[in-house]
């Protein structure tokens, strides 16, 4: 792991709602090296997507608190002005593949849509842009004659791939993918995952891969971060994580994955995810944890280093 690409320190993103303050991203720390793929795993509503938004400052209007440091190649982009961020970071450095399949402009042809970032950032348009777009179409595996279609004339998988092509067009060092395969069938998922792998090898791109699907995450990830209640409870290398998950939540998560040709039944986690409005005084997983200690109920666990680039927020590993 040579050069550090992204370093996130104490990132916080709270939303103001009518019921109170939602702690969507709460004191997040992680590092990302170039060409690394980080999978962010977690249940629905644990703040995964909020991380993606917080990283490129696409924060909603009801943001209550947005603090922390995001070091991008040695400079803190949290201090950038909106305009500077837009010009220097968004898409040219960090691009994002939006969740769902309706993140394309319905009145632009697919080729125009993909070349939009080229126009915005490089001022390239016309045939030059079209040429680059055609190359990308080859890379992501969509026939070139689809370039002149509109978004609604494509299938969900194709739209997702168009979104990916858009993310790739400026050749950014980091691509954030927010649930890129969540709404797709298994075959399309497999196709997209293969495309991603190819991109990773050919373009040397780093990925942050946000998903709830452990199986797809295991395909691509070098590092895995487990999110629970707005916090990263465990972050470690993929090969270690999938064999020996440390945090009780990680263990439960792995156990919940159905396995082919195995008598072992997938295990759910009892209880419901915590309410992000009223954080518990201790570990937020404590009420559902089957290895709970006494102090779990009233002392929040700090991050414990377990070696091999592995950190766990759990009193078991003190």
């Amino acid at each position: 792991m040579d050069n550090l690409l992204l370093q996130v320190k104490n990132l916080q993103l709270y939303y103001q709602t009518e019921q109170g303050v939602v702690r969507a991203v709460d004191q997040i720390n992680f590092d990302l090296h170039s060409t690394q793929a980080l999978a962010v795993l977690g249940e629905s509503g644990c703040g995964k997507s909020s991380i993606a938004r917080a990283l490129i400052r696409l924060i909603p209007r009801n943001t209550k608190l947005y603090t922390g440091q995001i070091w991008w190649r040695g400079s803190d982009i949290m201090t950038y002005s909106e305009e500077k961020l837009r010009r220097e970071i968004r898409w040219s450095q960090i691009s994002i593949v939006m969740p769902g399949t309706n993140s394309l402009n319905p009145v632009l042809r697919v080729a125009e849509q993909i070349s939009e970032p080229l126009q915005v950032h490089r001022g390239i348009s016309g045939t030059a842009a079209l040429e680059q777009t055609a190359k990308l179409f080859q890379l992501i595996g969509i026939p070139a004659n689809f370039m002149q279609r509109y978004a609604h004339e494509l299938s969900g998988g194709m739209r997702q791939r168009v979104g990916l092509a858009m993310a790739l067009i400026l050749n950014p060092p980091l691509i954030i993918m927010d649930e890129p395969t969540s709404a797709l069938d298994v075959l399309t998922q497999a196709n997209i995952m293969n495309t991603l792998k190819r991109v990773k090898h050919e373009q040397n791109t780093a990925f942050i891969f946000i998903t709830h699907d452990i199986a797809t995450a295991s395909e691509l990830a070098d590092r895995v971060a487990i999110m629970y209640a707005g916090q990263i409870v465990e972050i470690s290398n993929a090969e270690n994580f999938f064999t020996t998950p440390l945090h009780p939540y990680s263990q439960a998560l792995i156990a919940s994955v159905p396995k082919l040709r195995s008598e072992q039944e997938p295990q759910g986690i009892s209880g419901a995810p915590p309410n992000l409005l009223n954080p518990l005084p201790g570990c937020s997983f404590a009420p559902r944890c089957n290895q709970r200690l006494d102090k779990c109920n009233n002392q929040p666990p700090p991050s414990f280093d377990q070696g091999k680039n592995c950190q766990v927020k759990c009193w078991l590993y003190q």
Binding site: N102, N105, V107
Partner: protein, 454 residues
Amino acid sequence: MNDKNAMNEFYISLRQIKKSPAAISGLMIVGCLCTIAILAPFSISHVEAIRLWRGGENVWIDSPKNARPSWFQYFYSAQLPTTLVLDTRQIGKKITIQQDGTRIITAKLQFEFPYTQTPSELGLVILTSKYQNKSAESLIMLQWKKPNGQIIQLADRTPIPEVPDRYWISADEALRQQLQVSNIEDALFSAVPGQGVLTGTYELAIEGFVFEPNADLDAKLIVYGKLHGWAGTDHLRRDLGLALLWGTPMMLLFGFVGAIGTILFSPIIAAFAAWYGGRIDTVIQRMVEINAMLPKLVLLIIIGIFYSPNIWIILLAIIVLNIFNLGIKSDRVFFLQLKELPYIEAARAYGASDLRIIFRYLIPRLIPMLVPRFVIAVPSFVFLEASLGMLGINDPNSMSWGSLLNDAYEQGALYNGQYYWVLEPTACLMLTGIGFSLIGATLDRIFNPRLRHI
């Protein structure tokens, strides 16, 4: 490549228009109006049309006053008289020179009169009468000969040199008293006044005495009919057809420019209000509300009366008054929904600027709705112009259907039975309105799916 595919929706819309008889008739009406508007400048230039329209009697001397349009003939069994013009320059004259140097110029203006109604007027214009010496005035004696041989002596004229001398035979008070009739045409065109019109050959014998060697005389007799052109004439003998014809391009241009001006701004302003929100939104909202309270027609009348009745200045005022129109409210609501969609967020993510998002992502979504709105807005501006014209805000340098209505109103057209004068511009306005509304309603149904089954 796949352009066909992409164009599909457009063709489907077109096909839907084809299926709708309302839209087809609307298109035909608007097509006719546009064709007329395009052809009008080719048939008669604008400068020429203005010259004619403002020319008064010098230009329109050959056409009758308040004449019905020629299609009125279909409502009458008897043939209605049309205008006859007899000119000595075409018919020819005889010159005899006396021994004392006096020259006698004689001309016989003969014409067939087959009609059972008297003409509306009789006029004689002594066109040219050349002489230098004031004491050697020309003298013209006129004799009216009916088909039954009766002869009536008309007034003698001594024309002023170089200026055409108009002799309104119909308005000759002395002649009326001499003949003891209320209506001179009656006396001239019947054996006994009030007992039917004599048909046959009439003759006006002109005998002019000139006293200089190179003096000359020419005259023109106009027997005014009761029908003229396809549109009739007004109190100033002007052909209404001219104003109806040239009114078409003026009205359409006014309607199109007004509609474009209004419809162009409201989505842009609404998009800014919705996208930036906050204080910009509040200011725009209040502007719209204040603007909605303004009495616009009154303001336009004030501008027309006190500042300038120029049609383009009024149009500019209309556009300015319509910038913050109420349409902004509904557009803003549409944009507020739109700006929360994922594709807008995606655009922000790839660094699209605010302006780019507004002009490339928000406003294009509204364009389908702008098309029917534009089509429906055109006649409303045509009507507005007509209303202003009707209320007397007339640009003297343009001909509009509204100013025809104003003239008709001022001249008491309906009271005098000249309903064609009111009907013609009204029909034009109604056709315009109906044509655009038929298209607009169909387009609205195509582009606005919520209305589809209503």
